[in-house]
């Protein structure tokens, strides 16, 4: 579904992505992990066309995305730090996105219901706490039944209850055969979701394995332990 080929991006001298290759298929739930500043968000933003890569191509359903925009109809994106126009209210933001998307089918408002956002619809974005902003971001990402969900640190800043709700929603969507791409540092939360692990380091993809394979390789039962083992190993290298 998404094929990344030889992708490179540098910001000045900093090499954020270095010849990254990645293939993601329908129905997979991929965790993108790695230390801070390893290029996870840059990779995600490149897929979304928000960052323009210096080299390499990204294909969505077989077509290169450079200069395209309609492929984003199939993507729901939840940013790490949602930034919204300050003086618009939650309701206005959601209405505006609906109007811009021009989506004809029934929108998926489960998360809006679950987070009880309707009661906050009149609140301006600038007055919201970080957690509530994340709830808005999450609701927007799921609103149009996208085939691909890209979630950048989805549970950061959410309270345990909300984060549980979001997790349930992700599992539900996964069962519908959507491709889900998650970055997260909270490894415990991912355990029951993830089918594949992509480990990035210094702008490169260190490995891309299925969860079972990783558990076998590291001889660990828990995903979190397996990953911290990998992290430790990579630091010693």
């Amino acid at each position: 579904m998404i094929v990344v080929e030889n992708l490179s991006k540098h910001f000045g001298k900093l090499q954020a992505l270095n010849k990254v290759n990645l293939t993601c298929e329908k129905g997979e739930c991929i965790a993108l992990i790695g230390p801070n500043a390893c290029g996870k968000t840059t990779l995600i933003k490149s897929i979304l066309g928000m960052v323009i890569p210096n080299q390499g191509t990204i294909k969505f359903n077989g077509r290169p995305i450079a200069g395209q925009f309609s492929y984003r109809n199939h993507i729901g994106y939840m940013p790490q730090i949602g930034r919204y126009p300050d003086n618009m209210s939650i309701g206005q933001i959601i209405d505006m996105i609906k109007e811009i998307r021009n989506y004809n089918d029934q929108t998926d408002e489960e998360l809006i219901e679950a987070f009880k956002l309707k009661q906050l619809f009149h609140k301006r974005m600038r007055t919201l706490s970080g957690g509530t902003t994340q709830k808005v971001s999450a609701s927007l990402a799921f609103l149009f039944n996208p085939d691909v969900l890209i979630l950048d640190e989805p549970t950061a800043g959410l309270d345990p209850l909300a984060s549980e709700l979001l997790k349930e929603k992700i599992i539900k969507e996964k069962k519908k055969g959507r491709l889900i791409l998650i970055t997260s540092h909270l490894l415990n939360e991912l355990d029951e979701l993830i089918t594949q692990i992509v480990f990035m380091q210094e702008g490169k993809i260190h490995f891309h394995k299925s969860v079972e394979q990783l558990k076998v390789d590291t001889r660990e039962e828990k995903l979190a332990k397996a990953i911290s083992l990998v992290l430790k190993q990579s630091q010693h290298e």
Binding site: L48, M50, I52, F69, P79, Y84, D86, N87, I97, I100
Partner: protein, 255 residues
């Protein structure tokens, strides 16, 4: 397309700055015409308002607005919207609302008090200058992420075109007064949208006689019927080029 323009215009109209700008323009124009019994004198006073305040407000407001709408742009970019469309919508939204403010504030009194030919020229030039400086604001805001720097560039550009340029031109005129440089002056003043607008309005005010020989040369070049087409196409270029360059830059920008 028009959906995003609508959001931008509504957002700007909610912003009190544009309303304030309209009121100031209205107060200035009405009082100028009420004080002077000769409408030409009033127009000459207003000319300086149109040529100094209108571009200043257009360039600063647009630059600040563009920096403040970074979030809006970021939000739209994760949606299926073309980059060209976002940029054009912002441009149309900003220029439309500033034009509305200009027409509501200064347009009505000018149309009422001044003779139709002159007043239409004044409105046309005010509107064009406003749009030119919105385009210049797009240029200055796309080059740097730093808001203070961006606004600084915008103010410097306004200062250059509104004040410094004339000083340089005057300096040139004095230095080379022994040579026949009138044609060169015509060419050089075409490099400044504010000067072009000023010349156009003055020529229609019939005070060009006071500008001496250079005035006569100007009248020769710009006063003829197709002179206005030349001026309008140069000014259109002044809108198109900065916008086009900023668009090229925006399309490659990382957000």
């Amino acid at each position: 397309m028009n959906r995003i323009v609508k959001f931008v215009i509504l957002d700007i109209l909610k912003n009190k700055v544009v309303l304030f700008y309209t009121l100031i323009l209205a107060a200035l124009s009405w009082s100028v015409f009420a004080l002077e019994d000769n409408s030409t004198k009033g127009l000459l006073t207003l000319l300086n308002v149109v040529l100094l305040i209108v571009p200043l407000v257009a360039v600063i407001f647009s630059t600040i607005y563009l920096y403040n709408s970074t979030e809006f742009v970021e939000l739209l970019l994760s949606q299926p919207v073309k980059r060209n469309r976002i940029w054009l919508s912002l441009f149309l939204g900003l220029s439309t609302s500033l034009l509305l403010a200009f027409f509501a504030g200064a347009g009505i009194p000018i149309l009422i008090y001044a003779p139709p030919e002159v007043s239409l020229m004044m409105l046309l030039m005010g509107a064009t200058i406003s749009t030119v400086f919105v385009a210049i604001a797009f240029l200055s805001s796309v080059f740097t992420r730093d808001k203070a720097k961006g606004i600084g560039i915008a103010i410097m550009l306004w200062l250059f075109f509104a004040l410094l340029f004339d000083g340089l031109l005057l300096f040139l005129l004095f230095q080379f007064s022994d040579y026949p440089i009138e044609k060169a002056v015509v060419f050089i003043s075409a490099c400044n949208p504010i000067d072009l607008a000023r010349i156009m309005i003055l020529l229609h005010l019939d005070v060009s006689a006071m500008m001496g020989y250079t005035g006569a040369v100007f009248k020769d070049y710009f006063g003829s019927s197709y002179g206005i087409y030349i001026v309008m196409s140069i000014l259109a270029l002044w809108v198109f080029l900065p916008y086009r360059i900023s668009l090229a830059k925006f399309r490659k920008k990382d957000l």
